[in-house]
């Protein structure tokens, strides 16, 4: 009975695909496709020009190759850049108009879209392939003046805000995948928290790739105005498919004076099967700007999915006294590869940053922590503390640490430490002696190892993440 349960868990729980009719842009990447996307979304002229500018830039950019996980060449002409459920040319006004199959999908995923089922009081924006399908709890948020909608809606309804902040943190010309995203991004979330508002609930976006041969290019923009606070969650899944799919998102955060943004991710894209076939390429650019004094940005991530994860949520600490935090758990099993970490750029005075990274690799996987701490000459009295620990299971996997530390002034302190270890025989013996089997023992020890990071997650997510940690490592011992 138990074995059966484990067998079931081993498979990717979210691996089903929804049979829904899709409306796609023609395959390939060219000006016409960009114009098509822009047109179907009824975008203003400046945005189309912006996209085309990015596309021009893309022509001269090369794909980066410095990262550890190498991947086969991606044929960018063989992808669909826009895919939406049919009958979706007009966004449905209410949930009742939604395709029941879509609701079913999200129900299977455990995402409460129907507002009456407000179990946990989290406002959700659900993104299915290229478009945002539903945003919940609208009224309650509007009451407070919080804007939480898909970015396409924001472009229509709040063009000034979008125009003012879009591309200010991740410029058009940043790097290949960011620029690709700027050219073809389809949807994503937009959050604006007005001054002195503490967002009454957790905001959450749920991303799902359904159609095959589709790349998902979402763009998220979060602006916390003076003295505001927001906590934002992001979850991702995709069906099991044999081919690799590309996910290249851009996330921009802007924190103004005294504002705080907390951004949590539980990433569980399809990791490919046991032999490393299929899975998502998760090449994401996430960057936060502490634009004004006393602002704070905190990233928390639990990375368990994707065939290749490659992301570095970063903080640019521009305002004086601003704070950047990064908490990460990355788990790789089978043939997964992850190259993840953060960048903390200290520009303002008295800025502080903290990095806690926990990497666990099992099977044939490879895990790399790559981070940069850069303290500029003017960033006096800055502090950074970095801790990155790796846990290895078996000698077929790898764990690597590549930190870059740059200290350019004498009044700042940087401390960095890293360790690599394995689960010791003694720890296992102790747990097993008390009646746990080896799987449970590993789960317990790993959860203890990750505790510092799991504590940073909002409650509902923490429980889910804890389970995920256990599931991701099933079958890696014994």
């Amino acid at each position: 009975m138990r074995e059966k349960q484990i067998e079931k868990l081993k498979d990717y729980k979210y691996g089903f695909s929804t049979d829904i009719e899709n409306f796609k842009a023609p395959k390939g990447l060219n000006e016409d496709v960009i114009k098509f996307i822009s047109n179907i979304k009824k975008e203003p002229k400046w945005l189309l020009e912006w996209r085309l500018k990015a596309f021009e830039r893309l022509k001269v950019l090369k794909e980066p190759n410095w990262q550890k996980p190498k991947y086969p060449k991606i044929d960018y002409q063989d992808l669909y850049y826009y895919s939406a459920p049919k009958n979706f040319k007009e966004k449905p006004k209410s949930l009742n108009e939604l395709d029941p199959k879509l609701l079913e999908t999200y129900k299977k995923l455990g995402i409460p879209l129907q507002e009456q089922k407000r179990l946990n009081g989290i406002a959700v924006d659900a993104v299915f392939d290229s478009v945002s399908v539903a945003t919940t709890f609208k009224e309650k948020l509007t009451e407070k003046g919080v804007i939480f909608c898909s970015i396409s809606e924001a472009i229509q309804n709040h063009p000034d805000l979008v125009k003012k902040y879009l591309g200010t943190v991740i410029p058009l010309t940043d790097h290949f995948f960011a620029t690709l995203n700027s050219a073809v991004f389809t949807d994503g979330s937009f959050v604006y928290i007005p001054p002195k508002v503490r967002c009454p609930m957790e905001l959450s976006t749920y991303f799902r790739i359904n159609a095959s041969d589709t790349g998902q290019f979402e763009r998220t923009l979060i602006i916390a105005d003076k003295g505001s606070y927001v906590s934002y969650l992001e979850g991702c899944t995709a069906p099991m498919r044999d081919e690799n799919q590309l996910h290249a998102a851009n996330v921009e955060l802007v924190a103004l004076e005294d504002a705080e943004i907390k951004y949590s991710t539980v990433q569980n894209w399809y990791p490919g099967d046991k032999d490393g076939k299929g899975g998502i390429y998760n090449f994401v650019t996430k960057r936060g700007l502490c634009k004004e004094n006393n602002s704070k940005i905190s990233w928390t991530q639990v990375e368990t999915g994707s065939a290749i994860t490659w992301k570095y949520p970063s903080c640019i600490l521009k305002g004086d006294n601003s704070v950047g935090e990064f908490y990460s758990i990355a788990i790789t099993n089978n043939h997964q590869k992850a190259d993840t970490g953060t960048k903390m750029i200290h520009l303002g005075k008295n800025t502080k940053s903290k990095i806690i990274s926990k990497g666990i690799s099992a099977g044939f996987s490879d895990m790399t922590y790559r981070g940069l701490v850069d303290v500029f000459p003017k960033a006096i009295n800055s502090r950074n503390y970095t801790q990155c620990d790796s846990l290895l299971m078996g000698n077929k996997c790898g764990a690597h640490t590549v930190p870059y530390i740059k200290n350019k002034n004498s009044k700042s302190n940087i401390a960095h430490e890293a360790t690599t270890s394995k689960i010791s025989e003694e720890q296992m013996h102790y747990c097993q002696q008390r009646g746990l089997n080896s799987e449970e023992a590993v789960g317990l020890i790993v959860n203890g190892f990750c505790k510092e990071v799991l504590q940073q997650l909002p409650m509902e997510f923490a429980v889910e993440a804890q389970k995920l940690v256990g599931i991701s490592l099933e079958g890696s011992v014994g």
Partner: protein, 415 residues
């Protein structure tokens, strides 16, 4: 530069007697170097120190031909007093003196013409430069069960007869079973604006011990690159100490392959920099088999606009279970314009290992200064005492007592 390289190369071939095979080898390397040029910041290993720019800025045009036909006068005033030692003296890149007067002659062999098993040809483009332009190169072999009675000091002297030159040196050491050597490299430069490119290869057989101390203390504005390759067999020990202080730019690179069980490597380094000096240490320790150990400790004290870089890598392959790897780098920045960069890297493919690294940088601890001042020291004394203690920690790791005292005196450290 390409034209200059070719002209100088022709001159060397004309004026020296190389075998046909050697010439072919040299030509190959020259072409490789012409193709890639000096390393620049686009290469990961040179990210923090763009030597191509550094040479351009500080030297300008280099010439690569040196006349080795006439000998230089050996200036005995540079020799170290108070320590009996064997000598090898290089002046402007030419070997002027080899003196093993304290040793049994039949236990040390010095070869200057031998078949080169070139395991260093693909390190970087500077190896190609070295291979193409180096003059003679010697290999020192220490016989089985023989330990040198006195340390060997290699004097790297340059004088004002050369300017804007590139000097290439290559030395090989073979330590046979159960032998040992203490080796000190001392740089004495009175020349200006030269680029000195040194490659050393050490082969350590079973149970042998290598202690290598590299001292760059005298102020000069030369640019230097030193690459040490160390191959270690079972139970061998290598200890490297680097004092990096005097030159305008120096990059010490140590590549250590722990091929035999129970072998261990120790690297300790001090950067003591001021003005616009820019120094780097890059280590690469490869744990290739089980039960090996490595230990690295690097400390920097930086004044004015100086900059130090430490790139340390521990690589553990999947066979190397029970590896013990440790790496610590610390820096004190004394001026607002000084800079410390570090990249302590771990690449691990085995699970039963103990590997850790740490890096910390900051200013002098104000509390400690306050404590000392409240006990009657003035600010300057307090600061000196703290720095003294900070650096003493590294010097104390030196296992050869006489040399430890010599180095302490050189830096002016008190106990």
């Amino acid at each position: 530069m390409e034209k200059q390289l070719k002209i100088d190369f022709e001159k060397i071939i004309k004026n020296s007697k190389f075998s046909k095979k050697d010439i072919e080898h040299k030509e190959n390397n020259l072409n490789k170097f012409i193709e890639s040029g000096f390393p620049n910041r686009k290469l990961e290993n040179w990210k923090f120190s763009d030597i191509s720019q550094i040479i351009k800025k500080n030297i300008g045009d280099l010439s690569f031909y040196n006349d080795y036909s006439s000998s230089n006068k050996v200036d005995s005033s540079v020799f170290v007093d108070g320590l009996d030692h064997n000598k090898i003296v290089f002046i402007n890149g030419r070997i002027e003196k080899i003196d093993f007067k304290y040793e049994e002659k039949d236990n040390i062999e010095i070869l200057d013409d031998f078949e080169l098993k070139d395991n260093l040809s693909n390190v970087n483009s500077l190896t190609n430069l070295n291979n193409a332009f180096k003059n003679k190169h010697c290999k020192i072999i220490i016989n089985e069960n023989y330990s040198l009675k006195k340390p060997l000091i290699i004097y790297h002297t340059t004088n004002n007869q050369i300017k804007s030159k590139n000097i290439n040196l290559r030395l090989d050491f073979l330590l046979k079973k159960n032998s040992s050597i203490s080796l000190i490299d001392i740089f004495n430069d009175t020349s200006k604006k030269n680029f000195i490119n040194i490659f050393c290869n050490f082969e350590l057989h079973q149970d042998s011990i290598l202690k290598n101390y590299k001292i760059d203390k005298l102020e000069n504005n030369n640019i230097k690159y030193c690459y040490n390759n160390i191959e270690q067999d079972t139970n061998s020990i290598s200890e490297t100490f680097i004092l990096s202080s005097g030159s305008k730019f120096i990059k010490n690179e140590i590549n250590c392959n722990l091929n035999g069980k129970y072998s261990s490597a120790f690297i300790n380094g001090i950067f003591s920099l001021k003005d616009q000096n820019h120094h780097e240490i890059r280590s690469n320790i490869n744990h290739l088999i089980d039960n090996t150990k490595s230990y690295q400790l690097i400390k920097s004290v930086l004044e004015n606009e100086s900059k130090s870089v430490y790139q340390g890598k521990i690589f553990v392959n999947s066979k190397a279970q029970k590896t013990d790897g440790y790496q610590l780098s610390k820096a004190i920045l004394l001026s607002d314009t000084s800079e410390f960069n570090a990249k302590p890297e771990l690449e691990i493919y085995a699970d039963d290992v103990k590997c850790s690294h740490g890096s910390a940088s900051g200013s002098l601890n104000e509390d400690s200064i306050f404590y000392l001042m409240s006990r009657g020291l003035n600010y300057k004394e307090a600061k000196e005492l703290l720095i003294n203690g900070f650096l003493l920690d590294v010097v104390e790791k030196i296992t050869h007592n006489e040399i430890k005292n010599l180095i302490k005196n050189m830096i002016g450290l008190k106990e």
